[in-house]
């Protein structure tokens, strides 16, 4: 059985408490880093581990850190992206609720590497328990000298402040998140400049996901060879998979990156509620669905990219053969329409238009021309907006149309939904 590392405390009572974390060896990695590694050595260590960002894009973490200019006179900032809002995803919430000190230790290790004196812990507004536990953990860490001036007697000083979101999915996008911390509407900005050069207040800023940061204490403690021994060479390490939808045992599973989707869904999540899987969304609703016949695919960045989808946030939503793909596609497009920040016309108008066409189709009052219209809208949205939200909307709809065109046609021909 695979040894749980990130979720080792899931069943430990009071695991959110500093004493429980320290009893499990917590903050030893931070002490070791401060005593034995220069920031540059630490960046090289994380590069060598092969750690890739767990927020969705899979960008190599050590490389991201190395983009921060070495000779900058401006303060450097770190942001912990805890704006987890990708539908189907609930892993960061589990980490914050059960092991907030692990996230804090990860933040401190990352902050030391990039030379940041201040971090912002951006937690989505809906996550009340997460916020309470993180704030309590920060207070404990300050009281123990693990935060503030001269941490553990070293030259390194650091402050972490919680910044709560207020119900906007777009804040998960890096530049929108920074705008939000600056007190503005969360509308993404054109890149470059990238945040590592000009982020919050125009200063170099690194944004890392909660799960990414949580890997750091373990990489320091167990070494890069251990991390690289798990999962495929190009995207190693343990991974949290959030399984929901029509499976017998939905839940959060920590497994090696690259595990087959079939093994995840059938052996761990208990298989479909009905007889068969019709489709699976592998990485939150931004990730294009793949047909149930294609689930012998590795759950890692490169394998899923090869299958025409993406690992994304690893929010795996299973649809069994009782599900209506048109209805799911309509709901996903309504989500993207609701969460579009309104800055770019193709995303703002295109998503709204597509959502209306999809609802019409789902109700059985669509026409054949609607399918061409949807394809036209997808082409008009994709690649024509500042950030990835519009791309995701078009990409996920495109996959539903490609793999399940017959189901859309069935709704048109029957004049009603065959599933409801």
């Amino acid at each position: 059985m695979f040894e749980k590392v990130l979720l080792r405390s899931l069943d430990v009572p009071e695991s959110q408490d500093l004493s429980a974390y320290e009893a499990a060896g917590g903050f030893k990695s931070l002490a070791s880093v401060l005593a034995n590694h220069s920031p540059d050595e630490l960046i090289e260590l994380v590069k060598a581990s092969g750690l890739r960002g767990r927020g969705g894009a899979g960008f190599p973490t050590g490389l991201k850190w190395s983009f921060v200019p070495k000779d900058t006179e401006k303060p450097v900032y770190l942001c912990c992206n805890a704006d987890e809002a990708e539908p189907g995803t609930f892993k960061d919430r589990a980490l914050m609720e059960n092991d907030p000190h692990m996230v804090i230790e990860g933040i401190l290790i990352a902050a030391y590497a990039i030379g940041a004196a201040t971090s912002y812990f951006y937690i989505r507004g809906e996550y009340g328990v997460s916020t309470e536990r993180v704030e309590a953990a920060l207070a404990q860490a300050y009281a123990k000298g693990l935060l503030g001036q001269n941490i553990l007697g070293s030259e390194f000083s650091h402050d972490i402040y919680v910044h709560r979101g207020a119900g906007a999915y777009i804040c998960g996008e890096e530049t929108a998140l920074l705008e939000s911390i600056e007190g503005r509407r969360a509308q993404p900005k054109l890149k470059p400049p990238f945040p590592a050069v000009a982020g919050i207040y125009g200063c170099p800023t690194v944004i890392n996901n909660v799960e990414t940061l949580s890997c750091l204490p373990h990489i320091v403690e167990r070494g890069t060879d251990w991390f690289r021994s798990i999962g495929p060479e190009s995207s190693p390490g343990p991974k949290l998979f959030c399984v929901s939808g029509q499976v017998k045992k939905p839940g959060l599973y920590e497994l090696p990156m690259g595990i087959s989707m079939r093994e995840l869904l059938e052996d761990h999540a208990g298989g479909p509620l009905s007889d068969n899987f019709k489709a699976v969304i592998p990485g939150g609703v931004s990730a294009p669905m793949i047909p149930g016949s294609d689930i012998d695919v590795g759950m890692d960045f490169d394998s899923l990219a090869g299958a025409g989808s993406m690992l994304g946030s690893a929010g795996v939503i299973a649809l069994d053969d009782t599900a209506c793909v048109v209805r799911v596609a309509a709901r996903i497009m309504e989500f993207f329409n609701h969460e579009s920040c309104g800055k770019c016309t193709p995303c703002r108008e295109g998503n709204d238009w597509a959502a209306k066409v999809l609802r019409r189709l789902e109700a059985g009052s669509g026409q054949r021309e609607d399918l061409d219209q949807l394809a036209f809208l997808c082409a008009g949205i994709f690649g024509n907006s500042f950030c990835a939200l519009g791309d995701a909307a078009a990409w996920s709809l495109g996959a539903a149309l490609k793999h399940f065109r017959y189901e859309f046609e069935q709704h048109i021909d029957d004049g009603e939904c065959p599933f409801h």
């Binding site: 979101g165 007190g183 929901s244």
Partner: protein
Amino acid sequence: MQVEMKDQINAVVGRYQTRRSAIMPALALVQESVDRLHGDVLKEVADVLEVPEIWVYEVATFYGMFNTEQVGKFHLQLCTNVSCMLAQAERLLQHLESQLHISKGGTTPDGLFTLSTVECLGSCDTAPVLMVNQDYHENLNEHRIDELLVQLKRQAAT
């Protein structure tokens, strides 16, 4: 605005390089003690932070959790995103509407309940999920919703 509230807002300002950054935390603090974030409240926040009123207004109206319209004592927000939808959230929405005699977006005449739908709450393995103010209620069905409504009404009466 009370002096204590001003002090709380000014304490938050110290976390940031600019006073503008404190708009979101200031609105969250103020929202706890007002019916809704109406124009006068926004102006007071702008005055305390020494920023233009429009900066506060644009933030208050962009983010969904800032209530510029009045909501009931209990704000019921039902997730209807894909995982909850697959777990019959839409049927629960109809049930809530019929039990409360209001439509989605409405508030009961006694001011007790506002019913909304919400995007993913990050509790998909326990779908369907309802958020009441800041508390999650998971693995719901019609029966559990009925029990919850009774409990909330009792809570309001005491």
